[in-house]
């Protein structure tokens, strides 16, 4: 199975300008958006799983990127969301810099391989400086998806 980030990420799961500026508030805003768009059934459980993960490790991976993630049965399938912050959010990134591009990944507990594959693909994609720059400058969810589609292999 070839997993494509551009196929898993839906335009409705993209927030071009997230309002919150603090990590937990950002996660809450993202979760509420996912619940409103019916990607997540149990928002409270999802939020708990993400917060638990955040307490264990820094999901701010540096270079202005954060990938909060969790395996939880609050979702029925692998789901992805993306949010962009103009001011940056403190995600305790290892390089000490705020995160501007936030990708959220969640999968059901029993979909471990799909989940790991998605995290790996996304991490590899976001290591490319040009992709990070294009994502920062994109004007619409469709443009975001096109950038991902063109750059994922």
């Amino acid at each position: 199975m070839v997993l494509k980030i551009s196929e898993v990420l839906k335009p409705e799961a993209i927030i071009m300008k997230i309002k919150s500026r603090e990590k937990i508030a950002v996660l809450k805003e993202l979760v509420a958006h996912m619940v409103a768009n019916e990607f997540v059934e149990d928002g409270e459980e999802f939020q708990k799983a993400l917060a638990k993960r955040e307490n264990l490790e820094s999901t701010g991976i540096g270079d202005g990127i954060a990938i909060p993630h969790a395996r939880t049965d609050a979702v029925k399938n692998l789901v992805l969301a993306f949010a962009r912050s103009e001011e940056g959010v403190e995600f305790s990134a290892i390089d000490g810099k705020p995160s501007y591009l936030i990708f959220l990944i969640a999968s059901p507990v029993d979909k471990k391989s799909e989940y790991i594959m998605a995290l790996a693909k996304l991490s590899r994609l976001l290591r490319k400086q040009v992709v990070r720059r294009l994502l920062k400058d994109a004007d619409s969810p469709d443009e975001i998806l096109n950038i991902i589609k063109k750059n994922e292999e």
Binding site: R53, L56, E57, S58, I61, R71, I94, K112, I116, M117, L119, A120, K121, S123, R124, R127, E153
Partner: protein
């Protein structure tokens, strides 16, 4: 002896079976676990010569497998409550490891004991634990 921060160095996706020992060690010593996967430039060139495949194709495959190894370790560490930080770098292992030891004040280095890791045992400025 206290190990506040340890770094597990991987250079090959098949090294991942040592992750359980690394996690248990961190749990026992209440250590933070930095996991570093290094895509060794020399290894890519050697593999390209042996397999007649393009270096870039091999590098992409190894990077993908490297990230998967990292996230699998993180997933396993999560169950035991061990704090992790994941990293992937391209270059020369000894140079990159030294950079990480200095940058994050690492107390100990964990590596798979094999011929290729001899250089890490010799050059490290912190204790090295072979798993």
């Amino acid at each position: 002896m206290k190990f506040k921060k340890v770094i597990l160095v991987l250079t090959d996706p098949s090294d991942q079976h040592i992750d359980e020992s690394a996690i248990q060690l961190c749990k026992r010593f209440k250590s933070k676990l930095f996991v570093l996967f290094i895509i060794e430039t020399s290894r890519i060139s050697r593999l390209a010569r042996l397999t007649h495949k393009k270096s870039e194709t091999l590098r992409k495959k190894i990077e993908d497998e490297g990230w998967q190894s990292l996230y699998l370790i993180e997933d396993a560490a999560d169950k035991t409550g061990v704090w992790t930080s994941l990293h992937l770098e391209d270059g020369i292992a000894t140079t990159i490891v030294k950079k990480y030891i200095d940058a994050y004040s690492i107390d100990a280095l964990l590596v798979k004991r094999k011929d290729e890791t001899k250089k890490l045992f010799v050059s490290s400025t912190v204790p090295v634990i072979g798993l």
